[in-house]
Symmetry: C2
Amino acid sequence: METKNSALHLIPVPLTGSTTSYLSTESIETAHKITHFIVENAKSARLFLKSINHPTPLQSIEIEIITDKPKENWQWVKSILEKGLDVGILSEAGLPAVADPGNEIVKIAHQNLCKVITHSGPNSMITALMASGMNGQQFIFHGYLPAKKEQLREKLIQIVKSHNYPNFTHIFMETPYRNKQVMEIIFNNVPNSYLLSISANLHTKDEINYCKTIAQWKVFDSSIFLDAPAIFCFTKN
Amino acid sequence: METKNSALHLIPVPLTGSTTSYLSTESIETAHKITHFIVENAKSARLFLKSINHPTPLQSIEIEIITDKPKENWQWVKSILEKGLDVGILSEAGLPAVADPGNEIVKIAHQNLCKVITHSGPNSMITALMASGMNGQQFIFHGYLPAKKEQLREKLIQIVKSHNYPNFTHIFMETPYRNKQVMEIIFNNVPNSYLLSISANLHTKDEINYCKTIAQWKVFDSSIFLDAPAIFCFTKN
């Protein structure tokens, strides 16, 4: 493919309750020059473009939705790149392609020798890891653990018993309404000596980070975490 | 411990060649109010404080070095917090406590019920993962893989053969002068069908991100990566 020096730009969108102030001047200047975006959510994409005062009228900016058919998405991206224009990729919130859609398009872009350029932004799982005080040299990010009780229980036991990655920090996300149930299953299946940290409302003024042993959590009033968007980290102590 | 509402702030320092423009106004305002820092490197810490135009004269700012004795470090941190003052923790570059020193102090802080507050900044491994196009929902960060040839070979074979985390992306760092040797060992021990991405000079204008199958890498001139600070990601394709 001949991309005439055009590129696919991975641009972070603010997390809920956050601002765009993390974007460097260079990243904002780059985003201002891009008029074609492939996005997870059109509404949040337009809000983002408005928040960075994009100089092109929103109705003149072409927005394509990321679907579960990355090859078709790539055809659209390719058609823009072949005109010598850049394409921006935006997820609904946070970094595109990290625990969010977009990576399949990036993968095809590489196979077509398209230039891929990143822009930095906050990432909840890394922030939660930093806040936990656990091993930040070696860790496993599991995404979402199984939703069903019995499968979650089995998964936790498998992680605790595994000898392959003994001192790694384990990180996972959960949907807020399930926090209470997940905490109960962790308390009942992870040894008392293990450390568990819960970080909620990250990148907002209401951020909370607690790290305790399972034994300490069992006697702690953890109701502050109910229904809050949270990241969990746990590790052998 | 009674911390009188004081807190331990985890503050990111720019990566080589980068600027502090990622720091939010709120983070800079917070850093301006802190006059006690525990840091990986005093010189880079002073450069950082200068770059954010810290209003207190540098000679009046107390800087303690992070050692391999976290309990002693904590005694210093605790003595400041007990005065009702905040403490900032800075690594040499990047996020403190993530692939950098500081996490042991954070861990003790939590056990002493000290408030831990994070500030966002760029992180090379997450940026490399985003740029790779690989699975960003599930991944393992290995830190540095073994330095010795035979141990590195064994580790790679173990990762490839492991059935516990079949579709996870594997991420590791390497010191620049070892890139050539590491690439050779990967090419010889990871299946041709696997995807390998190499990201170098991240968060600078010279950033490069390539993702190819091992078979494609074998016939690609990868000399651009020699001696560049790089992050490697690989996964089953």
